[in-house]
Symmetry: C2
Subunit: 131 residues, 2 copies
């Protein structure tokens, strides 16, 4: 599998597509447009770019499907999002909104090693708290 690098922006689109597919079984461009606060035209652009890189299957006026490669990538990103949110909420006591905001921004740039350590740290921390 060719792991074409994705920009932060495209990762956000993919994450949005994945989450909507998980919860509704389908996604429409207009939803993506609303969730990410971009124009419908920008969504069309992004869908083209994601399809070109084979993260989704998609054609003009057709439904939006995610490929296995896309799922893998989306899981990776949402996994980071979740752990980062937990860290900011449980360890630093930020509000849910601000925790998620920071997670959104950092999930695209943190290195894998740093992420792994943060994950372990956060889960141990929560355990200590609960004991």
């Amino acid at each position: 599998m060719t792991t074409t690098a994705l920009s932060s922006g495209l990762e956000d689109y993919l994450e949005c597509i994945y989450n909507n597919l998980e919860s509704n079984g389908s996604v429409k461009a207009i939803e993506i447009s609303k969730e990410l606060n971009v124009s419908r035209a920008s969504v069309t652009d992004a869908l083209h770019r994601l399809a070109e890189k084979e993260y989704i299957n998609y054609q003009r006026y057709g439904s939006i499907d995610i490929t296995p490669k896309g799922v893998e990538k989306a899981k990776e990103v949402t996994g980071k999002h979740h752990v980062l949110t937990q860290f900011f909420e449980k360890v630093l006591n930020l509000s849910e909104a601000e925790a998620s905001e920071n997670a959104c921004r950092i999930e695209h740039v943190i290195t894998n090693e740093a992420f792994k350590r943060l994950k372990v740290f956060t889960s141990n921390y929560k355990k200590r708290k609960n004991d």
Copy 2:
């Protein structure tokens, strides 16, 4: 003072200028070019953009000076860089290189509130460790 937002990229240029000025009293475009791994032409571009936003004073073939506004911004960014590096090194036990790499990436996107909490957390953590 107009606090024109700076992109991650321009923040990196400004940080580099500030650090060089602090340690040497002057900076040359070629040094910036080497440190940031970009062409000399890109540095000229960036200097124009930073000067336009009044973070530096600069003119064709002239020396590069940082404005008070630039110093403030640079201190903010380098401060974040330092705290983030400490967090990754001391709390998560990453190597100095990987800690700094993550700091570089995150310093531009973390919210001020999250940063404040992380700073307090990290300093308390170090204290506990040393007691």
